[in-house]
């Protein structure tokens, strides 16, 4: 016969395990919801056709002052400008998650991508891309370089890239990186090497 005080101790232990389990599940759900929220706060974009593909994105890591290639999956349409847009959004998705290796402001997104003569790309971003971008030579240069390099890796034949913000030209991203000029992709390759 198990002594009564021993039975009570086991019962209390089981109740404790049950309560702890419920608490852990609740916390996990909360964190997942937070991460989901960060991604979902991007403006709603029309659904994209195409099939899911593995693509390479060049991701900026602020603390290490480095750019590293990472593989991710994205729905990639056939049409080149839509493909360019989804490629760029795949990079931004890396920065908008929580925690982020290179935090960008809420609402940062790609509005449109225009392809000129098949080799020149004009990227139109949301205002938040520039307005809430952290100011500094390094963070701005890393953003520009990671986007152009990713685009170039996934859309062969691109030689020049320009950024506009909400349909208009802007002097700099956040006070430092040049947004007036067309970036030569070959020159950006050299910039990227400094961070690898």
């Amino acid at each position: 016969m198990i002594p009564r005080h021993f039975q009570i101790a086991i019962m209390l232990l089981l109740v404790g395990i049950l309560i702890s389990g419920i608490y852990i599940i609740k916390i996990t759900h909360k964190e997942q919801a937070k991460t989901q929220l960060a991604v979902e706060e991007r403006p709603v974009a029309p659904p994209v056709g195409g099939k899911q593909e593995h693509i390479l994105v060049l991701v900026a890591y602020d603390q290490e002052r480095a750019l590293r290639w990472r593989e991710t999956t994205a729905f990639m349409p056939e049409e080149r400008s839509l493909r360019a847009k989804e490629t760029l959004r795949a990079v931004l998705a890396q920065y908008l998650q929580n925690p982020s290796p290179h935090p960008l402001g809420k609402g940062t997104d790609i509005k449109d991508v225009y392809l000129i003569n098949d080799n020149t790309v004009v990227i139109d971003t949301t205002p938040q891309f520039a307005d809430s971008h952290p100011s500094g030579i390094l963070p701005e240069e890393m953003t520009v370089t990671s986007l152009i390099e990713t685009l170039s890796a996934n859309l062969p034949g691109i030689s020049r890239v320009k950024f506009i913000v909400d349909g208009k030209e802007r002097e700099t991203l956040a006070g430092h990186a040049d947004l007036m000029s067309f970036y030569e992709v070959s020159a950006v390759h050299e910039l990227a090497k400094e961070f690898q």
Partner: protein
């Protein structure tokens, strides 16, 4: 009421003190001087919204604008059929149909339209379409190449004499302060690339040029009291030691042409037995070497957020001032693109720098991530196509040694200096490392480096955000400024040797 002698004396004393206070207040008023080929005039500078402002009509009336029409918040003026429209509160104006950045909002006080002093360059260049040379620190602006230059000649005789030859007649006021003579030019558009010229002479030690509060000044320092004599044509000034004791601190009016205050008659040619030293010439032969230091951001543009108490714009100005002092200690002249918390667009920074033809341009920045100093050389990441070059609106003139100029696309103004910029970046990084400062060398498409004609670099002090306050430490700032100055001096020597 009876007026005793005592009361009258007290009242007189009070009146005298009041007059003196008024005079001193008048003297300390801030002014801005505009020089044209025909005239020169000074206007009052007032402080509004944390930056200097001037009256628009005071600036433009002497140039031919006689009517400023208002319609609601809009103010319109015309000069030679060119229309300019200013709107109260707006920081841009429409001149010749184009938008001009004013670096601050237009203010209206008692029907007096005020514009930021820094906007005078943009307003005048857009309105007049003439060459404008803006000396921001000295608050002087020169229209259509107005300017009086001078050459110096040191003559060694029994009594050494420094002869200053001016391109136009001048009439400065002369102030004697011990062994120094200070010539103040209030109306003459005196310009010089000289900052300080030492002389290898026992009596006359140095000549320095300075400009401040809308006036220019030449200061001659000697080992004995000096006498100053103005030549009869007003184009020559001779400075030499006086033989007898002279008053040690006095302000004397400018001597009229023909007046001879010196014990000997003024001579503009060497006496028969004189020994002439190598002539030190300042003039049109080419600008003297100086470094343009650009404390990045300023005014409404705070730059990177470093901490709750620290914005990038404050730190850049502090470091830039230290760098200027360090360079001057090494005998290299330096100028600050801004010395106050003022708005300057990136275009204005490039335009002001290119107009002054510095030997080097150094942009000072501050940022986060890593306890280090980052030295950036420009990266030319754009190359306009041939079609764009032909159609491009924006070109910048690069003067050549032959006196002619070639035009470069604005985005590629740096192209010809890129190699020298890299040499400077390497030298600066090397000097920082010698002082055990963690240093990283990078290239960057940072604005406005690529719009600068001269060799250009950027130096960025960096700290992790929790330690950002460390950047305020004067010891750290001085250490970095000293290393950067040494690097610049070394790079200058390398570049000169290469030439």
């Amino acid at each position: 009421m009876r007026w005793s002698k005592k009361r009258v004396s007290i009242l007189t004393a009070i009146l005298l003190i009041g007059c003196l206070l008024l005079l001193s207040a008048a003297d300390s008023s801030r002014q801005f001087t505009i020089y044209t080929l025909q005239t020169s005039y000074s206007i009052e500078v007032v402080e509004r919204q944390g930056q200097p402002y001037i009256s628009l009509m005071e600036l433009l009336e002497p140039l031919g604008v006689d009517n400023l029409r208002s319609s609601g918040n809009n103010w319109t003026l015309q000069l030679d059929k060119v229309e300019a429209r200013f709107t109260e509160g707006k920081d841009t104006a429409k001149i010749r149909g184009k938008t001009v950045d004013l670096s601050g909002g237009v203010l209206v006080e008692n029907k007096r339209v005020l514009v930021p002093l820094n906007a005078s360059f943009a307003i005048l260049s857009s309105l007049l379409h003439k060459t404008i040379d803006f000396h921001l620190a000295g608050r002087r602006i020169f229209i259509d190449n107005a300017g009086t230059r001078f050459t110096t000649e040191l003559k060694k005789t029994d009594r050494s004499a420094l002869v200053l030859n001016f391109s136009q007649a001048v009439n400065p006021s002369i102030h004697q302060e011990g062994n120094r003579s200070r010539l103040v030019f209030k109306r003459e558009p005196l310009i010089s690339d000289l900052i300080n010229q030492p002389f290898d002479d026992k009596v006359i030690r140095s000549l320095s040029f300075s400009e401040d509060n809308g006036v220019a000044a030449l200061t001659i320092t000697g080992d004995a009291p000096l006498s100053v004599a103005l030549g009869s044509d007003g184009k020559t000034i001779q400075v030499q030691a006086v033989q007898s004791a002279a008053p040690t601190s006095a302000s004397v009016p400018a001597q009229a042409p023909g007046a001879q205050p010196s014990p000997e008659p003024l001579v503009t040619s060497p006496p028969a037995q004189s020994t002439e030293l190598p002539v030190q010439t300042q003039g049109h032969t080419g600008p003297a070497y100086f470094v343009m230091i650009d404390p990045s951001h300023g005014g409404n543009d705070k730059g990177a957020f470093l901490s709750d108490q620290l914005d990038e714009k404050e730190l850049t100005l502090a470091v830039a001032r230290k760098l200027k002092a360090e360079l001057q200690e090494r005998g290299i002249a330096a100028r600050l693109l801004r010395d106050t918390d003022t708005n300057l667009s990136l275009e204005q920074r490039a335009e002001l720098t290119n107009a002054q033809h510095p030997g080097m341009y150094v942009a000072i920045h501050a940022g986060v991530f890593g306890q280090e100093v980052r030295v950036y050389a420009p990266a030319l990441t754009s190359s306009p196509s041939a079609g764009e070059r032909l159609a491009g609106e924006r070109l910048v003139a690069e003067p050549s040694s032959t006196g002619s100029a070639q035009f470069l696309p604005w985005e590629l103004a740096q192209a010809a200096s890129l190699g020298r910029s890299k040499t400077i970046a390497r030298a600066v990084a090397g000097e920082l490392q010698k002082k055990d400062v963690q240093t990283v060398s990078l290239t960057t498409p940072l604005r406005p480096l690529n719009n600068i004609i001269a060799p250009a670099i950027a130096v960025e002090l960096s700290a992790d955000r929790p330690n950002a306050q460390d950047l305020l430490n004067p010891r750290i700032q001085s250490l970095v400024a000293a290393a950067v100055a040494s690097g610049l001096a070394q790079a200058r020597a390398q570049i000169e040797a290469h030439k």
